[in-house]
Symmetry: C2
């Protein structure tokens, strides 16, 4: 299998050249539901060089709307979603580490998911795609890592849903992970999280281009209606802190009329938005509609809903008992979706099992999204760089 060093991601000045998403094929996988799904394609990218000892591989785990393109500039000129963190001399230094990122199972960016063709029908799976779990996503990544010839990862690292996967990796494959960085995550989605996801899915169900649940949705974002935009807007409210909303938008208005208000719902029943925060959400929702598949959104949010290590293993302590990895747990003070208390539940259970765990609460005002915004990068870079250094020098 191809494990040759890949060098095309950076030019001689240490700047990125073009990176390319690659694909590997597998026969299939038996999901936690018992359903067999195959064939299976996994989309991934790599940055940096795999060491001869194959001991410098870092696996990046993306959140709900992420993809394999984590760093560099792709063929369409788009910067990777965590490019601020991954690259030569950056927090995850590609001069030192071989970095892998793959699109998750049920995604819509190259890995098998609802837009993929169901071989049984010759048409896209659509909403008939089998429900998957965070564990299924991790199992598929483990197949990829094995295919790349890597027996043991130096680190798995991710935020939000990516943090769930980082935790699941350490639990599920204790012998194959030397360290794990769990950012802005939880070991158990709260009922409030389930509630937001439920409402988002219902916004999709109730949109004008609703796809019949029998499947055969046609795949691709062009058919998605406004429901997906509404779901994404709900998400964005939960990703930002109230403090950031005040600072970024306050009650500023784009359009005014009588006494500073428009007194109009606007064209198209309100499209566009009067307040700046409305326009922000509108933009986020509309652009998401153009780039994401609504059925992937449904299946992935359901996987997040199912994530509950307490329930799966009886207790968190039982879940963590076999962990061998050094653990780093990071939370953000202003994250109200996955607040610090949820990170602390993970940390305390790890401590009770006498695991090697570090914990940092970063006092940042940007809410759940703090691990993605540029202003969050300096402190996060410092912490992650230090942790990776200690792990690669240790044991």
């Amino acid at each position: 299998m191809p494990t040759a060093p890949i060098k095309e991601y950076a030019d001689s000045d240490g700047r990125y050249g073009r990176v390319q998403t690659r694909f590997v094929e597998f026969d299939g996988i038996t999901l936690e539901s018992g359903i067999y799904l195959g064939p299976l394609t996994v989309a991934y990218e790599t940055y940096g060089e795999l060491s001869p000892a194959k001991d410098n591989a870092v696996l990046i785990l993306h959140a709900l709307s992420g993809d394999a393109h984590a760093a560099g500039i792709d063929e369409k000129g788009r910067l990777g979603w965590w490019d601020a963190m991954i690259g030569p001399g950056k927090g995850i230094d590609t001069d030192k580490y071989f970095v892998i990122c793959s699109n998750c199972l049920a995604g819509c960016k190259g890995t098998t998911g609802p837009p993929s063709i169901n071989p049984a029908t010759g048409k896209p799976y659509g909403r008939s795609f089998p429900l998957v779990t965070i564990g299924d996503m991790v199992n598929v990544q483990a197949m990829l890592v094995e295919r790349l010839g890597i027996e043991k990862l130096l680190c798995v690292i991710g935020g939000s849903m990516g943090g769930m996967k980082a935790l699941d990796w350490a639990v599920r494959y204790p012998d194959r992970v030397r360290s794990s960085v769990v950012i802005a995550a939880t070991a158990r989605l709260s009922p409030q999280g389930i509630a937001f996801d439920w409402v988002g899915r219902n916004a999709i169900y109730s949109d004008p281009v609703r796809v019949e649940p029998a499947g055969d949705s046609g795949g691709g974002a062009e058919r998605a209606g406004r429901g997906l935009a509404v779901a994404r807007m709900i998400g964005h409210i939960t990703y930002l802190s109230e403090e950031t909303m005040e600072a970024k938008f306050g009650r500023k208005r784009r359009l005014t009329d009588v006494n500073g208000y428009r007194y109009s719902l606007g064209e198209n029943g309100g499209g566009g938005g009067e307040f700046e925060v409305e326009s922000y959400l509108e933009h986020q929702g509309s652009s998401f509609m153009q780039r994401f598949d609504e059925d992937s959104y449904i299946i992935i949010t359901k996987a997040i809903d199912y994530f509950d290590m307490e329930w799966s293993y009886g207790t968190l302590s039982a879940a963590f008992r076999n962990i061998l990895a050094k653990m780093l747990v990071i939370s953000f003070s202003s994250d109200w979706l996955y607040p610090t208390s949820m990170s602390l539940a993970i940390v305390r259970a790890l401590q009770a099992e006498k695991k090697d765990v570090s914990f940092v609460e970063l006092d940042l005002p940007y809410g759940h999204d703090s691990f993605l915004v540029n202003a969050g990068m300096p402190p996060l870079t410092r912490i992650i760089r230090g942790f990776l250094g200690r792990v690669s020098e240790g044991d």
Copy 2:
């Protein structure tokens, strides 16, 4: 004008008999937008007897989804929305006070609103109903109170949007209000509040039975699509605290299949819900769809968005300068929609203007809805009863 005592609300044992919603008609009103709206109907109920001096009237101000039926049992057998607070011997004691509650302007329960017939077209206004403000709602209530022959109210009292109205009453009609109780409210809707309302309206816009913005929506809840249910579900997440969600629902499931999960989106693309919190929201959304008008929802949430006393008067101090009423501000420790900090902003500005203000933060776990749930009644009853007693004995 009819100001005769109305006694039909309670029987000789102090239990409620039937209460009836009454209606008064006005030529019309010039809205803050400058638009003239007429004719105007106001639906209201009263409980208790107006004293000969007409000095014992308490005006109840309802929240987003409330109506005139605040107490007693109506002709359809339904209990009023704040019956736990209003009645003989209760927090707002109808043996002592003459209690009035009216459906707000733009509502859908008898007062002129989107389901009403637009005399210019002979059809319901629908989404072409003019946008209104909290101030417009208060002005219409002031017309009702005048029609009832009451020069000065003993108290205005309300929670959430009702709290905004209670504050607006004290500011707008200083000579006509002896006291005001502002519960779980804010003087200025936050951008997060605007954001949730925007997403709720967009869920309505994107539903399959979307009404053309030109108006003529047909009126009545039977035409409303799932969008209104989605909007309501978003609202309900914000009304509950995470603590209550954990205690009430946790991650309990109604339906299980493989390994305790269903691994199915369920019939009708997810209808019904797997987790109990999903079923709760589904029930709230579906029943709301049956009883509320989607265009009223749109117009009223927009009025809430516009509420900003700082902006309307320059500063909060300027807004409060002419207040004569004794003020009582109440917040709930677990309310994250209108948190205590927002109540404190009101209190501090009142204090800076040397107004007579009392403030209580109630340590209740039920979130924004604490003023409506039964478990919140004992402490709220104690505080409101005491305050009304002091006001009616004073000056």
